[in-house]
């Protein structure tokens, strides 16, 4: 019963706890790893305990949410749109329990559900600008795990960014698919090789565990790649230009701390303006990032300028999810 009178940061506050539920096993999924990192960071700062529930399929998501509700933690965090359905109903049934959804928001948002989401498309656009400036052949591509609506936030804006600086760039997306789309690096590599074989010299990876396959394909064919979510430049030194970053950890940990402090509910959207998404080129430490973009100061300058234009509202990046 941690509802009742809000005690804020009173010294006698009961032990705080955080439960994070993922839609899939975390494994080497960089996005989920960031989610874990953010929750752990918040727990450390709050002196709270932390538990991770990894789900296997939609049914087990619901099961994990129920188990979490029974444990009555300070906040239950669910990552991704896979929680849209569950968080439509469960928070309403447990008004005393606080929930946080990261990276999406249930349609019928209850007062005890806070949401954090991101404008990935803005970061993808910046990466596209880099690709447009750096491509020699004028052909670029993306290898994504599956053709879901969401993944298009990394595809069309990427191509749009490229054409914004070089009108004749053509972009091709390929999807890994097959029996195990999220964990088939060999197939992802074949896809990337298909792209490079047809002349693409830049391939962005959005293939989960397949990313490493994309980097290998780039390395073997002299092309360059983009990573996703976190800095993946070190995974294939010299072959990765930059990454479409999503600072899930920062946003999530901030949201958890706010909830712990009693500021519950509401939606926070992180874009370039809020520093919730970005590319390594914008970083002060770009030189030590291992990303090859560090060697092109003019590209970095252009990217910074486009970022400023977006923040200032001079450029609007179309969100593919909004039709």
């Amino acid at each position: 019963a941690c509802g009742g009178g809000e005690t804020g940061a009173a010294p006698a506050a009961p032990e705080k706890s955080i439960i994070l539920i993922t839609p899939n096993p975390v494994g080497s999924n960089s996005f989920l790893q960031l989610g874990v990192k953010g929750a752990e960071a918040a727990a450390k700062e709050l002196g709270a305990s932390f538990k991770l529930y990894e789900s296997k399929d939609p049914t087990s998501i619901a099961q994990n949410v129920d188990a979490a509700v029974r444990a009555k933690p300070t906040v239950i965090v669910g990552i991704s749109f896979s929680f849209d359905d569950v968080f439509n109903t469960v928070p309403k049934q447990h008004p005393d329990q606080q929930f946080l959804q990261v990276d999406s928001c249930a349609k019928e948002q209850a007062a005890n559900l806070a949401c954090v989401s991101f404008k990935e498309h803005e970061a993808a656009y910046l990466a596209g600008v880099e690709a447009g400036l750096l491509t020699k052949s004028g052909q670029i591509g993306v290898v994504a795990a599956l053709d879901t609506p969401f993944v298009h936030r990394w595809i069309e804006p990427f191509f749009a960014g490229a054409t914004s600086v070089r009108a004749d760039v053509t972009g091709t997306p390929l999807y890994v698919g097959g029996a195990n789309p999220f964990s088939d690096p060999a197939r992802a590599k074949s896809q990337a090789q298909t792209l490079t074989g047809r002349g693409a010299d830049i391939v962005a990876a959005a293939a989960s565990a397949g990313n490493q396959g994309v980097f290998e394909a780039a390395a073997s064919s002299g092309a360059k790649a983009f990573g996703v979510d976190i800095n993946q430049c070190g995974q294939s030194a010299g072959n990765v230009i930059d990454n479409v970053l999503k600072h899930v950890d920062v946003a999530e940990s901030a949201a958890i701390k706010e909830i712990a402090a009693g500021k519950t509910g509401g939606v926070k959207i992180y874009g370039l303006a809020e520093g919730g998404v970005g590319v390594n080129a914008l970083d002060a430490e770009v030189a030590s990032s291992g990303c090859t973009v560090a060697a092109s100061p003019d590209v970095i300058a252009k990217v910074k300028q486009v970022r400023d234009d977006i923040v200032a509202g001079k450029i609007t990046v179309a969100d593919p999810l909004q039709g």
């Binding site: 494994g27 080497s28 091709t172 097959g178 964990s183 690096p185 590599k189 074949s190 490493q212």
Partner: protein, 296 residues
């Protein structure tokens, strides 16, 4: 798009190699009368052990050897249970496939500290033939295991068709009692082929994890072992037909990728290899039915 581009053919060969190696293992088992559907699990286990050994020793070739040894051991469970103790090989294989999935996932967390994907700059992959100084088209970008796989098809055809032990393996598969009565050691031959299939799946796994890519990721066999089983069933236990079946599948997959590039939906590309294989099957069967009738 030009499907005769060399890079395209090379890609087909890369995609085909692990399937072909595993399927060869399945084929010799089939010839000896053991229906081996544990290829998926063994392929995964081979990939995992190849990466572990290569990572520890820093040598890809030791990784290949380790994968062969470890997968032979793994297939020892199949041979002990289904040949030695005469348990139903299909049931045992279903269990072993599950075991391989669980074991690799579990051990991965123990050894590398996390699930998902393991890759590292220190992890040694197989060299390409080009790197070994054999820069020929199509084969140049392949690991030496790819031409080895092709050579093994020829070797298997020769072995089964011409040699004494090959003849005996065929005999054992056709009629167990007859083979026993002819004084052949049925159990020994069946143990043998299951273990050799283990070695081939080890090679297949090594090619997948150290040749096609240089990493391990959970469940990375991704159904290739099942495709190998289908190829075996389509081959009529003839090695060259097996090669054809595997190549057809790899070819159809690569065509699917290209079609995706031409804006066909991903789902169509996913379905392509299966649909093309079905068509090929139906055409072949219809042709086979028509032939004798025309003679009359």
């Amino acid at each position: 798009m030009n499907i005769f581009e060399l890079s395209f053919l090379s890609g087909v060969l890369t995609a085909t190699a692990p399937v072909l190696l595993a399927a060869l293992g399945g084929l010799i088992c089939q010839v000896a009368g053991v229906f081996n559907i544990a290829l998926e699990g063994q392929l995964l286990w081979g990939a995992f052990t190849a990466v572990v050994v290569s990572d520890v020793t820093g040598s890809a070739w030791t990784g290949v050897a380790g994968a062969i040894a470890a997968t032979v051991l793994f297939s020892g469970m199949l041979s002990a249970a289904s040949v030695g103790l005469r348990a139903d090989p299909i049931v045992v294989a279903v269990g072993l496939n599950l075991l391989a999935l669980g074991l690799t996932g579990f051990l991965m967390r123990r050894i590398f500290g996390s699930g998902g994907t393991y890759s590292s700059p220190e992890l040694a992959g197989l060299p390409t033939l080009a790197e070994l100084g054999l820069d020929v088209p199509v084969l140049g970008p392949q690991s030496p295991l790819v031409p080895l796989a092709l050579a093994l098809v020829v070797a298997a055809a020769w072995w089964l068709g011409r040699t004494r032990s090959g003849l005996r393996v065929r005999a054992v598969g056709q009629h167990r009692e007859a083979a026993e009565a002819a004084g052949l050691r049925v159990g020994a031959y069946r143990h043998g082929v299951v273990l050799v299939a283990g070695a081939l799946c080890g090679l297949a796994g090594a090619q997948l994890a150290l040749g096609n890519v240089t990493l391990f990721s959970e469940g990375m066999s991704a159904g290739r072992g099942w495709i190998a089983v289908v190829a075996v069933m389509l081959s009529g236990v003839l090695p060259y037909r097996l090669l054809l079946a595997c190549l057809l599948f790899g070819f159809a997959e690569a065509v699917g990728f290209r079609l995706q590039g031409a804006r066909l939906p991903q789902q169509a590309a996913d379905a392509a290899p299966y649909v093309i294989t079905l068509f090929a099957l139906v055409l072949a069967a219809v042709a086979a039915r028509r032939r004798p009738k025309e003679a009359s």
